[in-house]
Symmetry: C3
Subunit: 168 residues, 3 copies
Amino acid sequence: MIFVLGGARSGKSFFALKEASKIRGRKAFIATAEPFDEEMKERIERHKKERGRDWDTFEEPLMIADAIRETISTYKVTVVDCLTLWLSNIMHTDLDVNDEIGRLIESLHPTKNDSRVYIVSNEVGMGIVPDNDLARKFRDFAGVLNREVAELSDAVYLIAAGTPLKIK
Amino acid sequence: MIFVLGGARSGKSFFALKEASKIRGRKAFIATAEPFDEEMKERIERHKKERGRDWDTFEEPLMIADAIRETISTYKVTVVDCLTLWLSNIMHTDLDVNDEIGRLIESLHPTKNDSRVYIVSNEVGMGIVPDNDLARKFRDFAGVLNREVAELSDAVYLIAAGTPLKIK
Amino acid sequence: MIFVLGGARSGKSFFALKEASKIRGRKAFIATAEPFDEEMKERIERHKKERGRDWDTFEEPLMIADAIRETISTYKVTVVDCLTLWLSNIMHTDLDVNDEIGRLIESLHPTKNDSRVYIVSNEVGMGIVPDNDLARKFRDFAGVLNREVAELSDAVYLIAAGTPLKIK
């Protein structure tokens, strides 16, 4: 499992996809973004085309634990893009955030097969403490989530300005 | 002196405590957090218990320069957690921020004894410029403070998602 | 070309100037800051004096592509400080941001002479998603801009608390 952490528009998805594409075989892309408007729908479709025929895309804004478990057992490679968007989606439901993080972490536990998983997430804790209470909670949850995923990962990359830095 | 810099909930305190715990002997923990409510009081008490009997805790939201000078001369290890919280406390008083930063820096100047000091601080300058004037000032002061402490330190770690990266 | 990326008050300009000063010969400093008030005017003047007689300063809040092309062909060293401020200036005009980024990137394309260029920019994408729509757009543009400049650069440094980390 490889964890790819970076700021907004830092090139983290690009890096994860580039690395994943080096591996031959069927690949799964779990997208947590929800297409709210036409522009976003088009963008998602364009990205799907760019990935090409080796990839199957699963749009899963909430139930990614199940999706991950499924793709790990059937695909050579899984890319999850991205965790912080998923967290934000979860926080806009009535679901218990800690429970859902627990379920996600469990789905990521090392399996015996040789399936590779790339997890993309945003670093969101290096700015000023937000005024907004919800944003503060989000930041705290994201910190915990990123730590737990990093701990399970075999490698962790921090991406800044498109440049990957291996920190684990 | 070891400087541990990281985002919110990045695992910086955990890292500093883990490293500090490897050293035998009496250890001092200087906490700058103020227990505003019951929840926070309980959290502080829980953390105190988790550190165990090797540690003495000093709650010092403002006058950390004196506390540091004191613990450096009497303990094998001092952990200060954290600088940005202290800075925020100072900015909510009438004290002159530059003077107080100066006093702090002075207290950290290398001593002749072999006492080790871990300083924990937040990286807060990698987000968008805050709208809020006070937040902007805080960010500027935090940048200056972190630079000065890093310069005095023998080692600097940047923590992201619980993963330490030695940058000095 | 050397790209120096860092948070607010992280010491990125200081690092770029220190490195640039090691090179002998005439040096150009392209400042994108606009002196809005007396305090800022004084600060700009003070910095100019600190750089010393080896340096010529060009204040260019908007048209930096032309300025860079000019200084690259006539100076041994050019320092551009900083890109995100320039981006913010551009976004406050009617100019097309993508066009201007394109013009800038073009001006930075490796030249045949041995002139060295230091580009200073802020990392702004590691905080919480801003509420403000303009700030969000700025963050997205800054991410794209920083990636493109990093890609063209021979070396990239990430600065945290005054400490440079070579990431490329």
